[in-house]
């Protein structure tokens, strides 16, 4: 087999060296009744040619080259070629966790740059090397707040991504972490401060909001931060559309930021692999989950980087660890790092403004459901979302998300997203289908 670098004669020599007569002797130790009698019921090995054909055929069964106005946590941004080229460098692609600093400085240096850029984007002082994704970063942030405040309750806005909230409740369930949701203002689409006020109390560890929230609305931090902190709770800021950080004021009022980086050149890939992050204030550094890279020196006095503060982690702390996370999403964080260095300071702003402009053109021709300012995503009223999307699909356009799916009370509304990839012509088709004013 092409992945097995041995010839029959080499196997023979090795068996002789070991001192067994046949390769099966090597598993003789397995109890008779445990050994698999008949071979696995899977087809024989395929040639590379057939494997490529199989996946091409599967790909052809999916939407190919469609324009898309779906956002809702997965965004359609252009992926600079260099990001995908560099991540395929053998030295990046086929290495592992940089435990051995002396031959892992490539990854370590890049992760340090990644942590630094995430801090610059979020206005935080510490960022970890990555979490699985945005959805799992949220409960990890909530758990962190519980550890810090020694309180138990979590308050989460209904305008946080529905699937993030589902994951939060799964994680929280058996950790004595009651999770309560608070509502959104049906006029503005922003959080309902009064509802929050009524629910926050002395056992509230954290208040979790997302901005831009699931409806695309940009939240106002001041008020909620004040409220939370006045009650001794932490404010957790969640983002699902990382490109928004290019133009939105950094959430410096937050105590913890948890986000999803898919927008940074990570292909949608039917939902993963993506990369989540958690960033926070210096003072909470020992409560942050996941890996951290720190700067230090080598024995010759040269700058070097290494994994640090691992006493927080499971392989040292075991059941007392800040989290059970081990393998993270490093390779995806590398792609994001490359993406950020390609766009840079000016590029991220220009990119964000293009997203803003495209979405506002689209919105300007449709009837919005909410009034609050939005970035590249918004909710529009639609008589029959399903019918509209059907019609668009025939034109090789994937329409927006039917909000009724997650918010029964918002049935008859569609969540639309436009990015720098959205062509005016396609947007006009969507406008027409939704009966907007041309």
């Amino acid at each position: 087999m092409r992945y097995l670098p041995k010839s029959p004669s080499e196997r023979q020599q090795m068996l002789e060296a070991i001192g067994v007569s046949s390769i099966d002797d090597l598993v003789a130790q397995l109890p008779e009744d445990v050994r698999l009698k008949n071979p696995l019921n899977l087809p024989p090995g395929k040639s590379e040619f057939e494997i490529v054909d199989y996946f091409k055929a599967r790909g052809a069964e999916c939407a190919n080259g469609y324009a898309s106005f779906l956002g809702a946590g997965v965004y359609n941004h252009y992926r600079p070629v260099v990001a995908d080229v560099l991540v395929q460098r053998s030295e990046f692609l086929t290495s592992y966790t940089p435990y051995q600093a002396e031959i892992s400085q490539g990854h370590l240096t890049q992760i340090f740059e990644f942590q630094s850029m995430i801090c610059q984007l979020t206005g935080m002082e510490v960022a970890n090397a990555s979490m699985y994704d945005g959805s799992s970063a949220v409960p990890e942030a909530a758990m962190m707040a519980v550890r810090i405040t020694k309180r138990s309750q979590t308050l989460v806005a209904k305008s946080v991504h529905p699937e993030y909230r589902e994951v939060l409740s799964t994680y929280a369930k058996y950790q004595g972490m009651p999770v309560t949701e608070f509502g959104y203002d049906s006029q503005t689409g922003r959080i309902d401060l009064d509802d929050l006020k009524s629910k926050i109390n002395d056992d509230t560890a954290s208040v979790i909001i997302q901005s831009p929230n699931f409806f695309g609305c940009v939240e106002e931090l001041e008020a909620v931060a004040e409220l939370a902190q006045s009650k001794g709770a932490l404010l957790i800021y969640v983002f699902a559309e990382a490109v928004s950080l290019g133009i939105l004021a950094p959430p410096v009022q937050a105590d913890i930021v948890a986000g999803e980086l898919q927008s940074f050149a990570i292909s949608p890939s039917y939902g993963g692999p993506f990369a989540g992050i958690i960033a926070t204030k210096e003072k909470y550094i020992r409560q942050i989950p996941g890996r951290l890279v720190g700067e230090t020196k080598d024995s010759r006095g040269n700058r070097a980087f290494c994994l640090t503060l691992s006493t927080r982690e499971q392989h040292i702390r075991r059941e007392k660890a800040t989290s059970n996370i081990c393998t993270n999403q490093a390779l995806i964080a590398l792609v994001a790092t490359i993406y950020l260095s390609i766009y840079g300071k000016e590029g991220l702003r220009e990119l964000a403004i293009q997203n803003l402009s495209k979405a506002h053109y689209l919105a300007s021709k449709l009837e919005r459901r909410f009034e609050a300012p939005f970035f590249n995503e918004f909710v529009a009223k639609a008589s029959d979302v399903a019918a509209v999307n059907e019609q668009l699909l025939e034109k090789k356009i994937i329409g927006g998300l039917d909000l009724g799916r997650f918010y029964p009370e918002l049935a008859g509304n569609v969540l639309l997203c436009a990015t720098e990839m959205s062509k005016k012509a396609d947007m006009d088709t969507v406008i027409e289908a939704l009966g907007g004013r041309a």
Binding site: K46, S95, F112, A275
Partner: protein, 491 residues
């Protein structure tokens, strides 16, 4: 004498922040085909950031050079043996990278209509059934993002099932040889962790276990082959003891590379387990991820599996969200799909018989190394090795050299070190897992290096204790790093 590598110049490179200069550009956007919007007008002045302070500005060619240069400071499987025990660092087939980038797959949005998603759903379904066949289990969920995430999912299934029976119970048993993620996971699911001492064969001591299992025990989290690389001889009885008391057997499948095609957990009493697709099924995870921690379960746990579940309805795949007993979601969407594509491609390439051959070569390689190094390093457990072998530094410690020093010296010989100081039950462990994708030539060079280092320890221990000597970065001061952490660049 070092036979594997020679010294050669490697490009140095500052941090991105240090090569930045205002006005350098690595990007160009197409011209806008709609009116440009002023952010301050659209969002309000207070919501708009003035700038991203000190954020780098570099050109495309500098980006290429920056990351290309950095990459040359890394070791990688494509460069040579990567014997990190328990991590199964095997060759990552390149065709898998290609197929994962197939347009219809890489650009599939998780919320796009199922009518235009049959291909991706078919792939997930095909992988689920292949993994069920390989593990001998009844059902599989692909949602967990990594092994630890799979552990949490699996233990949640156990808890949900027990709760349904009326009592979630209080304790999870973990052998003292267990990986740190096991106890950490148990704690996250609200269980108290009880450690079980291993016997002097490195296996679970059945008597001890028997005594420890009572009506408060929810499950035993067992790695098999365990972390010292030996197969639990009494696995059948272990399962029996648990099941008799209404407890379950969770298997940490990190070491499935020793079992594929040889034995199936489903056949020896395992109720639920996770697989590390990024280990056994060879998906690349440079720098530490991404992975996938697919969970395989027996039918009695299937009702509790995370939503959504794949279902075939009049010949079309559809996602089933109506699962009243489900533990809920452990991750948004459907898991690390791109990783799943690679894992399926890997399984297709080997095929049924092929997977067994791969396993046998993995075991062959481990035993070949064990035989050759036994005279030089202490072997705490004499039980037959499966896919990995764990030595201790007893002999070398006497001369003041620890496993960590030997590991660093190995770097001078052109190899990535083995896993250091794990499992914890072996003091000063050298945990070596070659995997099946290593040639005899590469193994001989490794053996040669390890033997040569053993001699160095006797003749010139200082040389070993101060290693590595040939790398661009010499031994790194991790203590200072932790004492006053600098975790981000500052102007």
């Amino acid at each position: 004498m070092i036979r594997k590598v020679k010294s050669h110049p490697t490009q140095d490179e500052p941090l991105l922040f240090e090569i930045s200069s205002p006005g350098k550009k690595g990007y160009q956007l197409p011209d806008l085909d709609v009116p440009v919007i002023d952010p301050e007008v659209a969002l309000g002045v207070s919501s708009v950031r003035k700038e991203i302070e000190h954020f780098p500005e570099v050109s495309e060619v500098e980006v290429i050079r920056h990351f290309t240069r950095l990459s040359t400071w890394n070791y990688a499987i494509d460069l040579g043996l990567y014997p990190l025990g328990s991590c199964t660092m095997k060759y990552n087939p390149r065709v898998n990278e290609l197929v994962a980038r197939t347009e219809g797959l890489a650009w599939a949005h998780p919320y796009q209509p199922e009518t235009v998603s049959q291909g991706v759903m078919e792939i997930a379904a095909a992988l689920e059934s292949a993994l069920a066949e390989i593990t001998g289990m009844d059902a599989v969920t692909l949602q967990p993002a990594a092994g630890a995430h799979g552990e949490m999912t699996g233990i949640l299934l156990v808890r949900a099932a027990l709760e349904k029976q009326g009592n979630p119970r209080k304790k999870i048993l973990c052998p003292d040889s267990a990986h740190g993620t096991n106890p950490a996971t148990a704690q996250m699911v609200g269980y108290e962790v009880v450690n079980i001492k291993s016997n002097d064969l490195g296996m679970v001591d059945v008597a001890t276990l028997d005594a420890a299992v009572d009506e408060d025990v929810a499950a035993l989290m067992l790695t098999n082959p365990n972390t010292v690389g030996v197969f639990e001889q009494d696995i059948a009885r272990i399962a029996g003891i648990l099941h008799d008391k209404g407890a379950m057997l969770y298997m940490d499948g990190a070491n499935m590379n020793a079992l594929c095609g040889v034995a199936r957990p489903g056949d020896f009493g395992v109720d639920v387990m996770h697989l590390n697709l990024h280990k056994t099924f060879s998906t690349p995870h440079g720098g530490g991820g991404p992975g996938s921690g697919a969970v395989a379960m027996k039918s009695h746990l299937e009702p509790y599996a995370p939503v959504p579940r794949l279902k075939k309805e009049n010949d079309k795949w559809t996602w089933d969200y109506h699962r009243p007993d489900s533990i809920g979601r452990v991750r948004a969407f459907y898991g690390n799909f791109g990783v799943l594509v690679r894992a399926l491609a890997y399984i297709m390439a080997h095929g049924g018989p092929g997977l067994r051959n791969a396993t046998m070569d993995a075991i062959l390689n481990a035993n070949y190394i064990r035989k050759a190094l036994e005279p030089y390093y202490e072997l705490p457990y004499k039980s037959p090795a499966m896919h990995e072998v764990v030595f201790s530094d007893d002999k070398q410690v006497a001369l003041g050299v620890k496993t960590g020093d030997i590991a660093k010296r190995l770097i001078d010989y052109g190899f990535h070190p083995y896993t250091v100081s794990f499992p914890l039950i072996i003091h000063g462990a050298l945990m070596i897992e070659p995997t099946e994708t290593e040639s005899k030539g590469e193994l001989d060079l490794f053996i040669d290096a390890m033997q040569s280092i053993a001699k160095e320890v006797e003749e010139d221990s200082e040389l070993v204790k101060t290693a590595p000597h040939t790398t661009r970065t010499s031994r790194v001061d991790e203590v200072t790093a932790a004492r006053k952490p600098i975790v981000r660049w500052k102007p």
